[in-house]
Symmetry: C2
Subunit: 418 residues, 2 copies
């Protein structure tokens, strides 16, 4: 069953804010087997919202609308919807009472701005059994419309607990849709296309999708409307063919990110790690600690931005830095030994490089990055050249360093450097 | 002059990918005085894209379309556009030659997939004077349509260097629009509305916008179509009124992020800093080092995830951890002294807390966070309770810690804790 999402807010169409609500809702609807055919963002603008709503009513079976339900003057969704659907606005007594109670417990009195929140289009049904930001639904010409607040936590709570269950109970005949994601690192889209050019004729009903997702590349495998046993078999067949060709670049065949894959492998093998970061500035530690339970294997890290700190904290010798520079193979080797020893861990991981925009030279241009890994008595290092702005070079270097850990734990060779 | 943005890709409507292109293009267009009235994302789907294109042609003066120009089978923008505009597809010889040259230098031969990229709708004008991903434009019934690749770097390059200059030269009568942003931390939207309730009648033609942007809140001030001198005076007047009421929460009156504000203040005062992080896991260091030139004031940081490391690296005493726990005022005080001493900096900043989802207790629930600041011989600490998931608690704690530095440098009091 197909529908669409409309998100409302000047901050979206002026480019100030990323539309996290649309991404969340689209992901949850898709994962539930409901198809999203379009996402539209409009401002607090009666004309465009009215047109967008009527187009949606003509083309979709359900419409999720977020934003514009609050007390401020630019929150006008209820008024615009009432006018677009030719319905009157009237006070919802249930909601008004909630607002009054909320204000009373805070020693405040009802203002016209707060009362406005209770003016809903005729026929609206409140979604949440209590709470102020309760959302509501309207059925118009067999199309189910849902109006949710724009605050991401409130929106996701209402979507998960009220909208999705209702949609799934109404549209019981949702076809089985399965999609798998392969996440790749170290290979670009053109190389992927070239590598899979003989395969693409032989995927049967499995549809492949190719998506650059800097610095990763994702391949999706999708199959619709068959029975579950066939779907699994067909997807397995194509997935295995891709893995035969590009397996070494595939770090995740699912929704897990690199840090979850690495974390899971460390946990499973009972291996501990510590990280020394220069140009990545804490990003590797930040990513590793985004994983719940990471304290089991991640002992800690150091961000050694100055040379003095590299010497004091990691025992990098002044002579090494003097002779070879802070961005060099010798320095990264001493850093990685130093961090492994300092944290007393099985593995040490170290990165030193030039994230830019300044600090580059002809010999060591911006984007030059050394990665080091220490395991037991051994240490390894590699030199890479990354491209992009400061943020992109940090992202590339952090992902490459995590990929080194993944490949080491898998017994794979590292990606070739320069 | 008003227009809209259409982004194409199944990854957008299935919620797998955030629409960074739409945000970038919307931001650049708005900043140039061009109004974006709608952003629409559709899949690689002929029916919906065709309808979306014709709606855009009826309602806008310019349309920016991104995605679907590559060599893969799901890249169908050119075909769909040709059919929607009733134009034939024909080989653009200039582009075909570029593709052949590109392949030749790599020792590859022309494949039908690569050749397909050169099939453009009749009347297309190539934007970039060389390069494969060159984008193109079409004028249809006085509406200017631009087709750009979906890869963010390519899209932004073409938009900035070819699309925007052309739009600005065609629509010379762009009205003067100025928008200012005030970024606030430590106050919620309802409190902002309450604080400004008497002001909102007195803003003249200045339109205020209120946008929660977790964990921040943003207020925009916009004014259209007047002469520049008046605009500045009017915006200054309203900005000053807001600052009188909420000034203590406003950390940025511009586009700068907290780390840029803090970094600038440190640089200006010639003060150095080092950071000890437990629950934020490296995020504070990562944010500080996102600022170019941060190595001048940021000496480095430690991520002390285990108790052992807190003791070894920061000299937190085993008795303190034993008696008060790792998440306590006493521990954060010793951490912050330890990091300041270890890195020999003017300021030390430390955070210890429980990011969850596990590790909470009745006494110290998930979200309990202690922040410490050492300056010279003094040290200060505060205890906070944050809400949300692991990622949100990391974000809140990191922002609060950075806000402590900002307030300390400004001579402001810290936000009250618990």
């Amino acid at each position: 069953m197909y529908g669409e999402i409309i998100t409302i807010g000047d901050e979206l169409i002026s480019g100030r804010t990323l539309d996290l609500n649309a991404k969340y809702a689209a992901g949850r609807l898709t994962a539930s087997g409901l198809r999203v055919i379009r996402i539209t963002s409009v401002g607090d603008d009666q004309v465009t919202l009215t047109k967008t709503l009527s187009t949606a009513l003509e083309n979709s079976r359900f419409v999720i609308v977020t934003g514009g339900l609050g007390p401020t003057d630019d929150d006008m969704t209820n008024e615009i919807v009432a006018s677009a659907l030719n319905r009157s606005l009237s006070i919802n007594k249930q909601l008004l009472k909630r607002i009054e109670t909320y204000l009373k417990t805070r020693g405040m009195t009802l203002t016209p701005a707060m009362e406005k929140m209770a003016h809903l289009p005729e026929g609206s049904e409140i979604l949440h059994p209590d709470g102020l930001m309760c959302g509501c639904s309207i059925v118009e010409k067999d199309v189910r419309l849902y109006f949710l607040p724009g605050v991401p936590d409130q929106m996701s709570h209402l979507l998960d607990n009220f909208v999705l269950p209702e949609l799934l109970s109404v549209y019981k005949t949702v076809p089985v849709v399965e999609q798998r994601i392969l996440k790749l690192y170290g290979v670009n889209e053109a190389e992927i296309m070239e590598a899979l050019k003989d395969l693409t004729d032989d995927t049967g009903d499995v549809v492949l999708g190719f998506y650059p997702n800097f610095p990763e590349n994702h391949i999706t495998l999708s199959l619709n409307e068959k029975n579950e046993a066939t779907i699994k078999k067909e997807l397995d067949r194509v997935e295995n063919q891709i893995k035969k060709i590009l397996g070494v670049f595939i770090f995740s065949s699912g929704h897990q990110d690199m840090e979850e894959i690495v974390g899971h492998a460390l946990l499973e093998k009972g291996i501990t790690i510590a990280v020394a970061e220069s140009c990545t500035g804490g990003l590797i530690s930040h990513r590793l600690t985004n994983v719940p339970g990471s304290s089991t294997y991640f002992q800690g890290g150091v961000v050694v931005y100055s040379n003095q700190v590299k010497m004091n904290l990691l025992n990098v010798s002044p002579e090494t830095i003097e002779t070879y520079g802070a961005v060099s193979e010798c320095t990264v080797r001493e850093m990685v030994r130093g961090v492994q020893k300092r944290f007393d861990t099985d593995l040490g991981l170290a990165v030193t490089g030039i994230a830019g925009p300044d600090g580059g030279s002809a010999e060591k241009p911006v984007g030059t990055v050394h990665i080091g890994l220490a395991a037991g008595d051994k240490s390894l290092s590699g030199k890479y050249r990354f491209w992009g702005n400061r943020g992109q070079i940090k992202m590339e270097a952090a992902l490459m360093a995590l990929d080194w850990v993944r490949r080491y734990l898998n017994g794979n060779t590292f990606l070739p450097g320069i």
